[in-house]
Amino acid sequence: MSLRAPLGRVLGLGSAKDGTGHWWAQRVSAVALVFLGLWFVVRISALPILEHDLVVEFVANPLNSVLLTLLCLAAAYHSYLGVQVVIEDYVHAAGLKLVSLILSRFGHIFLAVVSVYAILRIGLGA
């Protein structure tokens, strides 16, 4: 038996004007980050982080490049979803809320692109 009202079923929308998409995306990116995050801290703890040539060598390794890229994208996405909820909960003025949400989106996309660009630059030896 479905608990959804007939009109809700037709529109496919609840009072949030959004379905379970946000909730689900947060969980899926969280599961990805469990693995990518653990991989990152394990590798980072064994890396002589102050040595530039060794850090470059680490990032340039093809598997590391791919996993770092996935980490940066998943983290930026998960962070965007989380910050969005925080803004929606705590910023009450409609105009400021809209501006904050847009700035957060721009900021997260910018960080993701900058990170991936840097990884590619190292990985492709540019």
């Binding site: 969280a30 940066c72 930026a76 989380g82 910050v83 925080v86 990170s115 840097a118 630059r121």
Partner: protein, 105 residues
Amino acid sequence: MTLSILHRGTGVAMSIGLIVLAAWLVYAATGPAEYARFAALMSTLVGRLLLIGWSFAFFYHLANGIRHLVWDTGRGFEKRQANASAWFVLIVATAVTAGFWTVLL
């Protein structure tokens, strides 16, 4: 209850930490001299305290996030279970953070 707001707090802290992660990659991509300057900045007392804070935020958010994923399956909601898992998360996050920095230093 305290852990709930801590989950948000550590999440927002790591959102700011993403800037440092991006900066780390950018300075590594730029060159040895620039990277050395970034490494020196992060090696200062303030830099180290921030890194320790971000590492705790990571381990806490990871452990409590898994707790949330278990809750999503409908399990662990009994008051006794929730209290036990709260302490478990706090102890694991603190212990793993300490262990992580023992390996690093």
